[in-house]
């Protein structure tokens, strides 16, 4: 089985879905001739032509807005926003329309749309290229938010996202794009949305994470009997799997790359407090980025959670 990195795995998912279904089209800035600034869409233009791999004008709102129109008409657009930090002009379209059209039309119209966008620290880029603002989208009923943590899961989750009848924000860690390779089967397989996975079982502490932070977490738990959960879909998140684990271990650390205040980790924390409080031995700790404006790359390493900070939080909860 070929070992692929995440760029290749996502590329393969797009290619296979486009082969399978003529309604799947890709659009965004530089996705065609250039193959995307991260080469995610490399080769797609040559294989599927300019009607299905569309280099758009440089305008995020219409990339998403036009994708909504296409989706309502019956296509399955996969839109790329070049960096998550540039998605804000399109947030109006996502929040006011993509999420609401099913409801506004009482099911008459649906928006089977995927918006892919890279997020996160680690590529030494200028300002606005390193944000992790997934929590914003989790606060929009009608939107699903998916954050894969490895090539195998990226492919399977993207295929599920494309086939999903609702709009999905698919957030790809730039740091993970080429960080690791793993076996990724060719051909069809899916990883279901709305299901978390237990990456490793353990009995002392539950650590919940997603995206790139899962790898920092795995570094941090080498000597600990920790149960590590990769949330994969943030909204709607798999409450069942989280609570089951918490009930088993009684201790919780949540690791996310976004700044702490209002992060999605906060939602998980509140949910656990509501539903599994009586099983807890100590406080729920969140390890998050600092509540500061994301610094330029020189200080980036001080901003986002490190294995050290995660370890510290674990030893903190292990006191109880």
């Amino acid at each position: 089985m070929p070992k692929l990195n995440m760029v290749q795995a996502i590329n393969l998912a797009l290619k296979e879905e486009m082969q399978r279904d003529k309604d799947v089209v890709v659009l965004g800035e530089d996705v065609g001739r250039d193959g995307g600034v991260f080469r995610i869409t490399e080769g797609l233009l040559a294989q599927f032509g300019p009607d299905r791999v569309v280099d758009t004008p440089l305008a995020e709102s219409v990339i998403v807005g036009a994708s909504i129109g296409m989706a309502v008409y019956g296509l399955k657009p996969v839109a790329e926003v070049q960096f998550e930090g540039f998605i804000y002009p399109a947030v109006d379209q996502i929040s006011n329309h993509a999420s609401r059209i099913r409801s506004r039309s009482r099911g008459r119209h649906t928006v089977p749309l995927v918006i892919r966008t890279p997020y996160g620290v680690g590529i030494k880029a200028p300002e606005h290229h390193s944000e992790s603002c997934e929590a914003i989208f989790c606060h929009m009923p009608g939107i699903k938010v998916v954050m894969p943590a490895s090539p195998y899961y990226a492919k399977g989750l993207l295929i599920s996202s494309i086939r999903d009848p609702d709009p999905v924000i698919f957030l790809e860690s730039t740091r993970l794009y080429r960080l690791l390779r793993e076996e990724v089967p060719e051909g069809e397989y899916t990883v279901p949305l709305e299901k978390a996975r237990v990456v490793q079982e353990g009995k002392d502490v539950t650590i919940i994470s997603w995206g790139f932070m899962l790898h920092r977490t795995l570094e941090a738990v080498e000597d600990i009997d920790a149960e590590v959960i990769d949330l994969m879909t943030l909204n709607p998140f798999d409450e069942e799997t989280v609570y089951q684990s918490v009930k088993k271990t009684g201790r919780v650390v949540i690791v996310n790359e976004a700044p702490k205040t209002g992060s999605f980790g906060s939602e998980i924390s509140a949910s656990i407090a509501e539903s599994a409080m009586l099983y807890l031995k100590g406080p729920i700790l969140r390890v998050a980025s600092c509540d500061v404006v994301l610094p330029l790359p020189k200080l980036e390493d001080y901003y986002a959670p490190t294995a050290e900070r995660i370890k510290k939080a674990i030893s903190e909860v292990m006191k109880y």
């Binding site: 089209v25 009607d51 299905r52 569309v54 758009t56 004008p57 305008a59 709102s61 219409v62 998403v64 807005g65 036009a66 994708s67 909504i68 129109g69 296409m70 989706a71 309502v72 008409y73 019956g74 296509l75 657009p77 002009p89 109006d92 379209q93 006011n96 329309h97 059209i101 099913r102 409801s103 506004r104 039309s105 009482r106 099911g107 008459r108 119209h109 649906t110 009923p141 009608g142 699903k144 999903d164 009848p165 609702d166 709305e194 709607p236 798999d238 409450e239 069942e240």
Partner: protein
């Protein structure tokens, strides 16, 4: 080196029917007498509906309502130019478009009464649900037009918005996108001169809205928006161009909002009675009536019959809208996602 003129542009305007009911026969679109009467009766129905909706709001029987008074020719004339296969993306003031395309009037009242089900069109009638955030639906129309082109369908996509909408970024992005890909789209701006209290002059320094088309490399035209023949003709031509692969058109219907912005507004705070009176004389129904009278298509008798017909249609709509049962509150859970989430299931249990 001397400056050169790289290109020069002109701005078109179409007028066919004047305020006294005289039509320029050379410009008249081919419309049967029967259709002329249909135009008139549809405008009358739209106006009757509109007046009733305003009354119902005053009586607290529907919520905030956006009137179309004065804009009947822009709405009916353009809507009646469409084919069944075309898609429509309205803003929130297109009640006349809905009516002309055959969406039952009781459903429009149901919507303004606060019930989403009123926007659900029958299969085959592709009117997108009302869009409240100004001009944000223009990109949707561009995208739908791209899908039409991709599928090779014999259809065009029409978006409606106002003069205020042309200041929004999404207007620019949508028209730019549609122009770039030569999409089968028609953008209809009902320039009713006022965006709540802000006059047209505060939206743009451009002399017309139609000329904005030039910058997008698409066709643009201003028409007398109170002249149903001009609106109809320009829309037909734009649809034809769209379907022949000649790209999008921006139509500026130069009209006037005779009523307040919505029932929550008081237009007397910001505009003069003289201005409103001037536009009264340009009324779209009045001039068509005068035209029909000259052509022996209108009599007092006919007027009475047409009014009675419109009134009874609106009576029926009102009765039906008020007899629709409230939606089951649990129903709102069914339309956020295709399937209920774990959390929604719990919320429903606790509901």
């Amino acid at each position: 080196m001397p400056e050169k003129i790289l290109d020069s542009f002109t701005v078109k305007r179409l007028d066919i029917l004047d305020e006294k009911g005289n039509a320029d026969e050379a410009l008249m679109p081919s419309i049967s007498n029967e259709d002329i009467r249909r135009f008139y009766e549809m405008m009358l129905l739209a106006r009757t509906f509109d007046q009733r909706a305003l009354n119902l709001q005053r009586e607290g029987r529907i919520g905030t309502y956006a009137s179309i008074f004065g804009q009947e020719a822009s709405q009916i004339g353009s809507a009646l130019a469409l084919e069944r296969t075309d898609w429509v993306f309205p803003s929130f003031r297109e009640n006349g478009v809905y009516i002309a395309l055959g969406h039952p009037p009781y459903k429009i009242l149901q919507y303004w009464g606060g019930d989403e089900r009123g926007l659900v069109t029958e299969k085959g009638l592709n009117i997108f649900p009302v869009c409240i955030p100004v001009a944000t639906h223009v990109p949707h129309a561009a995208g739908a037009a791209m899908a039409v082109k991709y599928r090779g369908d014999e259809a065009a996509v029409v978006a409606y918005f106002g003069d205020g909408g042309t200041s929004e970024g999404d207007f620019h992005e949508g028209l730019n996108f549609a122009g770039t890909f030569r999409l089968p789209a028609v953008f209809i701006c009902q320039n009713n001169q006022w965006a709540i209290s802000v006059p047209r002059e505060r939206q743009t320094a451009a002399g017309t809205i139609a000329q904005k088309a030039i910058a997008y490399g698409i066709e643009g035209i201003q028409v007398d928006g109170n002249d149903i023949f001009a609106v109809y003709k320009a829309t037909r031509q734009a649809l034809e161009r769209a379907k022949k692969g000649k790209g999008p058109t921006l139509i500026e219907c130069f009209t006037y909002r005779m009523s307040d912005h919505t029932t929550a507004d008081d237009a007397s705070r910001y505009r003069t009675k003289e201005e409103v009176d001037l536009w009264k004389s340009r009324d779209p129904l009045l001039r068509l009536k005068l035209f029909m009278e000259k052509k022996d298509l209108w009599t007092e008798e006919y007027q009475k019959e047409a009014e009675a017909k419109a009134r009874s249609a609106v009576d029926e709509a009102e009765k039906k809208a008020e007899s629709v049962e409230r939606p089951d509150p649990r129903d709102m859970f069914n339309y956020t996602y295709g399937k209920l989430t774990q959390r929604q299931q719990q919320e429903l249990k606790d509901f």
